[in-house]
Symmetry: C2
Subunit: 210 residues, 2 copies
């Protein structure tokens, strides 16, 4: 498998997995790049190019084998394994993220929760006892944590990001209303809705009402 797969291709793979899973559930054995493309708003040629990065799944003239393609993509994305995740911030936001069942259902298991507020340390979040943020580095190492979710106040986001990166974390999901700076080797996604909306409303304004 070539190492340099464009990240835009990777970003499409979870979508492929979701759509293929629906066809598999419906008992369909073969799927054309046209069918897949129509479900994902990707051209059939693009589908073929995307999937060519991962091996040969197509049968000339008959389409892709749904099951073997699905198994391979799940394997490539390591979807069937469990990832150990820590949650930083046990306030209202953190508790709401922890309660989102889809994370655990897809193998992203929160195994440790941290907060720097002494009043929250020792309380329970989804069955986990909140640890003191001072224990962060030791816990990441001991508990083999690979992914971090940030749900701390914005003024603390940069500092905790730096601690995570220094401790070897390279995948961060950020829910705080700040965009922490991380080295290029670290993947970070900002999922806070207010900043996303503020950038969108600018465009709303400029173009006038629909």
């Amino acid at each position: 498998m070539p190492l340099e797969i464009p990240s835009v291709v990777i970003d499409r793979l979870p979508g492929y997995v979701r759509v293929l899973g629906r066809f598999a559930d419906a008992g369909q054995d073969l799927i054309s790049s046209e069918q897949l493309g129509a479900m994902l708003d990707v051209s059939p040629a693009q589908i073929r190019r995307d999937l060519s990065y991962f091996g040969r799944f197509g049968r000339q003239g008959s389409g892709y084998e749904v099951m073997s393609l699905l198994v391979r993509l799940r394997e490539i994305l390591q979807i069937d394994r469990t990832w150990r995740v820590c949650l930083l911030g046990a306030g209202r936001l953190g508790r709401s993220v922890a309660a989102y069942g889809e994370l655990a259902a897809h193998g992203f298991r929160i195994v440790a929760v941290f907060d720097s507020d002494e009043r929250l340390v020792g309380t329970q979040v989804e069955g986990l006892e909140v640890r003191n943020m001072t224990e962060l580095e030791a816990s990441l190492d001991r508990d083999s944590i690979e992914i971090a979710i940030i749900a701390v106040p914005p003024e603390a986001a940069q500092r905790v990001s730096e601690r995570l990166v220094a401790a070897g974390i390279r995948s961060i999901l950020n829910y705080s209303p700040a965009h922490p700076r991380v080295p290029a080797s670290v993947a970070i996604r900002n999922l806070e809705p207010v900043m996303a909306l503020q950038a969108m409303t600018f465009h709303l304004t400029r173009e006038g009402p629909a």
Copy 2:
């Protein structure tokens, strides 16, 4: 003001507003592009280029006036006005999004909630009565709704997106685990964490442990 402001510049403005707000709260009158840049991981030259799109805020040699720059950026992003938002999906996910107080605190006021499940129609979400999805188009128009938040099951996301776009909505925040296709004139942000994590773990895997 030039109309063609790169969206990467717009995306940085909410960050400027947040940082400037902190300096204003601290009573600082002037700020250099170096100071601003250090807070946001943007080079001073980039800061100057970004802000030059919106007028002249700098005083040669003394920096930017914090208050007037802040007021102008808030005005540009229309941060002080209220936006009328509808929420599609009154299940667990939708209720959790509706309960996120920061949206209303920043002027994004959910004024209507819809669901297609008859058992949810008529129930309350944060003080709003859930309406039937069949009333969507009529409500968007009557209630002057400009922004939609999607929190429906993935198989319904594409269809509701199309209805929203057809009804004139041009800003969509998507929490469903699907990436709906919309025309280029519509701004959509996907904030669902599982798909974001799945695309990130691919990179984790490929590069090996830190």
